[in-house]
Subunit: 254 residues, 2 copies
Amino acid sequence: MSRQIEIEEGWEVVGGAVNGGYLLARLAMAAAAEVPHPDPVTVTGHYLGPGRPGTATVEVTVHKVGAGHSTAGARLVQEGRPVLALLATFGDLTRVPDEDESTVAVPPVDESRPLTREEFAAAPEIVDRVSLRLDEECTGFLRGERGGRPEMAGWVRLDAATLPPAFRLLVAADAFPPTLFGLGEFGWVPTVELTVHCRRRPPEGWLRGEFRTRYVTGPYLEEDGELRDPRGRLLALSRQLALRPRGASPTAPR
Amino acid sequence: MSRQIEIEEGWEVVGGAVNGGYLLARLAMAAAAEVPHPDPVTVTGHYLGPGRPGTATVEVTVHKVGAGHSTAGARLVQEGRPVLALLATFGDLTRVPDEDESTVAVPPVDESRPLTREEFAAAPEIVDRVSLRLDEECTGFLRGERGGRPEMAGWVRLDAATLPPAFRLLVAADAFPPTLFGLGEFGWVPTVELTVHCRRRPPEGWLRGEFRTRYVTGPYLEEDGELRDPRGRLLALSRQLALRPRGASPTAPR
């Protein structure tokens, strides 16, 4: 199955490339349209090249339609260049109970610090689509501080409501500044692979995100993330394999 | 590209299905054969049905061949039934330095407890291919104990040397008893998806594995793993999305 989709304007980050989480959500939505299960349960994307606003060709291959889950692969291509390859299993997240032991205490939204367009050197378009607040201890990079921890935490809100709730989790998982900014290590941190395990459909409004890197080995590092609702219920786990910036820069692009 | 491969006998677990890590390694090897980069850097498999020893059809699609990395998708089919879908990026792990901050202290191999065929109710074939030793505090399930933690840790050794070193990490990531056995919750824990980030080629001999589950939400749980060499250097991070057993059983199959 091959068809055209439109990548909206307004999701561009530094350099004009479209945010990887938004691309992942759009490609996952295209794959979900070919199977009977509505929600992304586990989605993996491998990033092959920058995506741009405009027309894209999407190819979907359904691998299996089962009773509780369906699995499909997909590929997004623009002007003959591969942008993103995806492998995903879909299910029904309404099967997950409202309450369980995954709930933890989270700080209130209004104790975190809103980020403005002016605070980003490159003022990427995405700041009009994604509202972000960071925990105060994660904002040192805005003042050029070095030597912190490779962690980012705060709140994200996706007011562009054209994505079904569970697919917004894929965007939220890739919406925060890189964890390496917490170290004061700036630069483009390309994502090789991003996997998101969605556990619940998120509510409207603010979502809590906490991301950290434990291991940098040569060119590779992981960013492990947890997304929660304002009550602290687990919404998703994410992990990406990223590449360390080759040259460090003292400015703070996103 | 479509071709036939042989799934060896001797990797069967409970019920006669072939171990998921071995299937993942074999399918990743088939994908790697089509690209110039030798090592698996990030491999995701979605499990679609049980694999059996014997002939399998493998289809590989190369998505991108880049300077440092290549990405391919692959699918394994037996007798017309889909068994495993894979998406992987390959690179060169010899670029990763020998030493870094990912090294941690690990306990000596000889303080862990060998597992014998007799200790597994179902005596799966895989115990002849994979040697396993568990930390003493993770062996309560062998005595039918309940109420521990959802953790498994110990050592694994893959004496079947037909797999190139980095691909053995994919087997090691799926070779331990389920973390839920640590709780005394027994049963088949089907893997929906398994992603392994390989950071270094492993040495011959024993590999350290530590696995834990933090969040069980409805039918879903994650198993997060770390694989290290005997010096404690990080070899790989793994995460799988698995399904909780529907019925608990007081016996301890593997």
